[in-house]
Assembly symmetry: C2
Homo-oligomer: 339 residues x 2
């Protein structure tokens, strides 16, 4: 049982989901402390039978916490995570602040749980797109070493927060009723439109999101040069990400073998009904824990049988963020309990 679990960013879309999961999964916490920016302080949330008030994030409150979940952006994590660690607490960080820090494990519990053990107070939650991708590719790679990944994403508005989800709804209505659009959360209109991810373009021509997918995949697979080509695209979907994945292998591999591996993978549900034309879709992936994987087929462009294509959808807020973080925390709680 953990004494005091604090949630920084409790009023955000991921923070709220985290609180929901704390109840649903009966997370073993004696006390919950909800923290956020000054602007959100005073908001209340029902957690189980109790009403909890959000308080402004402060060093004093954080020093009292045994485990802190951060989901308030990289700068907040940079400012406050070291304070938690110094006071003896453990941080599960959903921001990008520490993901590529060599001393910080980057963990998807179904894929590399062993990395949790070597933490020094901070464990990073990967980017949502990376989590979805590796939930499918991780177990495949273990069974049949993957040589190269080419992936194109279909990312929901939720990745940019509550305001972005609301902007998609409002702009859709504005479009349908002939009103002018006023983009705010996103640079470009999102209603009935799509655009490659709005993060800044780096020197290598990849945008921030794409570089995260490349670098985080390499770190999680413990292969610093693992070849990943990725294009991240924002689509007018509320809360589930999808990905079109092309895999190259060193040896020929059959769709049946891949289907078998995925069917036995925790956190993955194979949705691959060719007759009914029923495959992973965001509306069916929303509000569930599992990542849906389907369209598993031989890549016709590699007649030697060394290519597989698949398509997946997963809840960006849940497995892409809050669920993965609470799973890490559960591992930690288990470790603490058995220690």
């Amino acid at each position: 049982m953990l004494k005091n679990v604090a949630v920084v960013g409790a009023s955000g879309v991921v923070g709220r989901e985290f609180l929901k999961l704390v109840q649903q999964r009966r997370f073993p916490a004696e006390k919950l402390t909800l923290l956020a920016s000054k602007r959100s302080a005073g908001t209340t949330f029902e957690v189980g039978d109790t009403t909890l008030e959000v308080r402004e994030t402060s060093a004093d409150l954080l020093r009292e916490a045994s485990l802190v979940f951060f989901s308030a952006g990289a700068s907040v994590s940079h400012e406050f995570a070291p304070i938690v660690v110094e006071a003896g607490g453990v941080v599960v960080d959903n921001s990008s602040a520490y993901r590529m820090d060599a001393s910080v494990p980057l963990v998807i519990p179904e894929i590399n749980p062993e990395d949790i053990q070597r933490h020094n107070g901070i464990i990073a939650n990967p980017n949502c797109t990376t989590i979805m991708l590796l939930m499918a590719v991780g177990p495949i790679h273990r069974a049949f070493p993957v040589k190269r990944i080419v992936v194109s994403t279909y990312q929901a508005a939720s990745g940019a927060g509550i305001a972005a989800m609301e902007e998609l709804r409002q702009q859709s209505l504005d479009t349908l009723e002939g009103r002018e659009l006023k983009p705010d959360a996103f640079q470009h209109p999102i209603a009935f439109n799509l655009f490659t991810h709005d993060s800044a373009i780096a020197e290598n021509g990849y945008n921030g999101e794409e570089n995260k997918v490349v670098n985080e995949t390499r770190k999680i697979l413990h292969d610093p040069n693992f070849p990943v080509a990725v294009t991240c695209v924002r689509v007018p979907i509320i809360r589930a990400h999808s990905e079109s994945v092309n895999l190259e292998f060193h040896e020929p591999v059959s769709p049946e073998a891949i289907r078998e591996v995925l069917s036995a993978s925790p956190g993955v549900r194979v949705v691959d009904d060719r007759k009914a034309n029923h495959f992973p879709m965001p509306i069916e992936a929303s509000d569930i824990d599992d990542v849906l994987v389907g369209r598993i087929r031989q890549d016709m462009s590699r007649p030697d049988g060394t290519g597989i294509e698949l398509f997946l959808s997963g809840d960006q807020i849940r497995k892409g963020a809050a669920l993965n973080a609470i799973q890490i925390a559960e591992h930690l709680a288990g470790v603490t309990a058995s220690a």
Copy 2:
């Protein structure tokens, strides 16, 4: 000047665009005959200063036409195209009926105009997704031979006709106002959702649309084994398709060289402003002739420099169908005039 140009499927979304282009481009036709199913007969359209009435498609009317544009599905083309040819007319067919017929040229005028010459009365218009793809890849392949294409699509509702476009609008409104959705034009809900293309899955695991892209690309590039891996996805967009394209080359090639080739390609507009994060988007590709191409960058997964990634958007109804067809007809008119 062509004596009598008939449009079969005149009341459909592509037929209507074709009529618009006939006026805009001052297509040299003495007479226009609008044809459609019995259900649409009697509808009228303003073409220039005249009001034209849609008549039911019949062998007698088609025998009088010198050039017939078909966009009413494969079965209508199969039934009526041979009648036109037998009477000495020429068919430009937008359906899939004759695309893979060895005696029928499959033409994108910017890419393989020379194939028009060898027609035997029928010239096929490629699938919209193939056209968009090859508008970018065709000129690149001419300059730097492409070894393999991996493409994932983001296809608009328009590809499934007027009813599908209306279904997207109506379902979006229904979702926002909390009403139940009743999918009809598409099997699955399209509002705030996406799904891999709803065409039937073939023996090889690819769906109908994906097999079209593979086979048509091979035919247009005159390379019966050209390697194409493709995943076709329907997204909640009104009328422009987008594609995320990964290209492998035999030799290293730079993004600058690709940008130069595309900048000089007719029908292509490079939209590739990294600083402003401004790249091809469906809302900017709609209602224009050019296919927008951007995100041109080195593929990081191929450190030997033999990979390029790019993203494109193009109007599915226009260059993906009606414009390409009228360009073919213009070539024919030119051929007729100079013969």
